[in-house]
Amino acid sequence: MSLRVRSSANNLWKSLSWAWLDTVCQYRRSRIGPLWETINVLVMLIGLTVVSSSVFGSSIFAIIGHAGIGIIVWSAIASLVFESPGTFVRNCGYVTNSMLSIDLYVGRAVFKTLITFSHHFVIFFVGVLFGLVPIGWVSLLAIPGIVLLFVNGFWVAMALGLICARFRDVEPFVRNIMQLAFFVTPVFWNYRQISVDRRYLVDGNPLFYFIEIIRKPLLGEVPPPSFYGAVLGVTVCGYALAYYVHRRMRRQLAFYL
C-alpha cells in the first residue's frame, strides 16, 4: 500500500515537471511568453464586464470583481474539460510504444492547466492593487476551493480521456455542452439576476458550486457548507465514474489510438 502511495506521489511529481517543460517550451519563442495567457484572460474579462454591466445595468466597478474572478475560474474549468478528451490521443506515441504509467498523461494535462491558471491568477492581485477586490483572511478559503477544482481535474481527464479515445463523437459533444454551460452558469452574471422560477438552472449546475467556492472567499464571503457538500459529492461520484471507466477501458487503450 505504502509503495502504491509512493509511486502515485512520484507520478504526480513526474507529470508536474513534464507539464512545466511543456509550458516552458510552448512560450520559449515568444517575447512576453506566458504573459500572453494573462493578457488573453484580461481582455476577455474586461470585455465581458463591459458587456455585462451594460446589459444588466450595473456599474462596471460593482461587477468587475465578480465577473473577473468568475472568468478566471471558468477558464480553468473550460481548459480542464477541453484538454481532457486529448489526454491519451495526444500522447498516442507514448501510449502505443512505451510502458509509462497512463497516470502520467493525466497529470500532464491537469498540471498544464494548473500552471496556466496560476498565470491567470495574477490578475486577481492586480485587482487587489487597484482596490477592485478585497483581500483578507477569508481570501485564504479560496485555496481549498482551488485544490478541490484541480483534484476533480484528474478524474475528468482520466474518464474523458479514455471515453473520447474510444468514442470519437464524444469530444465535439463535450465542446458543445461547455459552450452552452458558459452562458448557463453565472460566470459573468450574478445568481440574483436570474428570475426565481428559473433558479433551478443554476442550483442544479455543479459548475456553479465549483466557481463559488473559489469566488466567494476572494470577494470576502464565506461559502455556505452546502456548496462544499455539492463539490465533494461531485468529486466522489466523479472518481467512482473514473474508476469504473478505467477498469472497463484501460487495458484496451492502445487499441483505441
Partner: protein
C-alpha cells in the same frame, strides 16, 4: 527470477469504425475481407487476429529474435510482452523490469533542449538521481553534441537527433528488453561507436526480444529465433535455421 511465459496466447485487435451514423458515407471498412482467417466481425467491430496460439517460454539469458514478414505479428508480440496490448485468450506471465523500444526510438521533445530532453527521460524512467550527473557526462561524451545540447533539438540534423535519442534509449537498464526493427544511429564513424554501446546495452538485459529482418543483426545478438507467419509461430530454434525457414516461406 526474470522470465516471460506465454501459453496459448491469442490476440485479436479490434478496428473501431463508426460508419453507421454518418449522413455522408465515408469509405468505411465495411467491405474489408472479413470472415477470413485473419479477420472477423463481431457486433459491427472488425477484429484482426494478430497472434494465434503463441507459446513461448523465456528464462534468464535468453536472447530471441522474431522473424517474419510485415504484419506477421512481431510488433504485436513485443507489445503484449510489454503490457501495452492485452491478450484475448491464453495466459501470460512476465517477471522483471521491462523496457520497450518500439516505433524506432525514444521520442524527443523538439522544442526542448538536449539537456531538457535528458532530464525529462531521466525523470520519466526513474534514472538513479545520485548518478544523474555522471550519466549526463557520459551522454555528452558519447553523443559528441557539445554545446548543441543546450539548444532545442528541433535545430539538430536528423543524424544528431538520432544520436541523442539513441544515447537516451541505450541508457536504460531493464531486465527484459524489447526492441523493434533494430537499433543504431548516425554516420559510419558513429556507427562503430554505437554498436559497442548496443552490445553493452543488450548484454545488461537478462532477456532480449528483438524483431528484425537483418540476419547479421540477429546472429550477432541472439541465440534463438522465433519465426512468425500470419500470427502463428512456425519455427522456434537456431537463428540460421530460422532464417532458412523464413527464406523458404517467401
Amino acid at each position: 527470477m526474470t522470465h516471460v511465459h506465454l501459453d496459448n496466447v491469442n490476440v485479436s485487435i479490434p478496428i473501431y469504425d463508426s460508419h453507421s451514423l454518418r449522413l455522408i458515407r465515408l469509405p468505411s471498412l465495411g467491405k474489408a475481407g472479413v470472415g477470413t482467417d485473419s479477420a472477423t466481425r463481431d457486433h459491427g467491430v472488425i477484429f484482426i487476429h494478430a497472434l494465434k496460439n503463441i507459446c513461448l517460454d523465456l528464462e534468464e539469458g535468453d536472447r530471441v529474435c522474431l522473424i517474419g514478414h510485415n504484419g506477421a505479428g512481431k510488433t504485436t508480440l513485443l507489445r503484449i510482452v510489454a503490457g501495452i496490448y492485452p491478450i484475448t485468450t491464453g495466459a501470460i506471465k512476465v517477471a522483471g523490469k521491462r523496457f520497450a523500444l518500439l516505433g524506432g526510438s525514444i521520442a524527443l521533445n523538439s522544442d526542448a533542449t538536449g539537456y531538457e530532453n535528458i532530464r525529462l527521460i531521466a525523470n520519466l524512467y526513474d534514472w538513479p538521481r545520485d548518478r544523474y550527473n555522471d550519466i549526463v557526462r557520459e551522454i555528452e561524451q558519447f553523443t559528441e553534441l557539445g554545446e548543441y545540447l543546450s539548444l532545442p533539438t528541433r535545430i539538430y540534423s536528423a543524424g544528431m537527433q538520432a544520436r541523442l535519442a539513441f544515447a537516451l534509449a541505450t541508457e536504460q537498464n531493464p531486465d527484459i528488453l524489447l526492441i523493434d526493427e533494430g537499433i543504431g544511429a548516425g554516420d559510419a564513424q558513429f556507427q562503430k561507436k554505437s554498436s559497442e554501446r548496443v552490445q553493452q546495452f543488450v548484454t545488461r538485459a537478462r532477456i532480449l526480444l528483438l524483431a528484425s529482418h537483418s540476419r547479421d543483426l540477429c546472429r550477432s545478438m541472439c541465440s534463438k529465433a522465433l519465426v512468425l507467419s500470419k500470427g502463428e509461430g512456425v519455427f522456434f530454434g537456431d537463428v540460421d535455421q530460422a532464417f532458412d525457414v523464413y527464406a523458404s516461406m517467401s
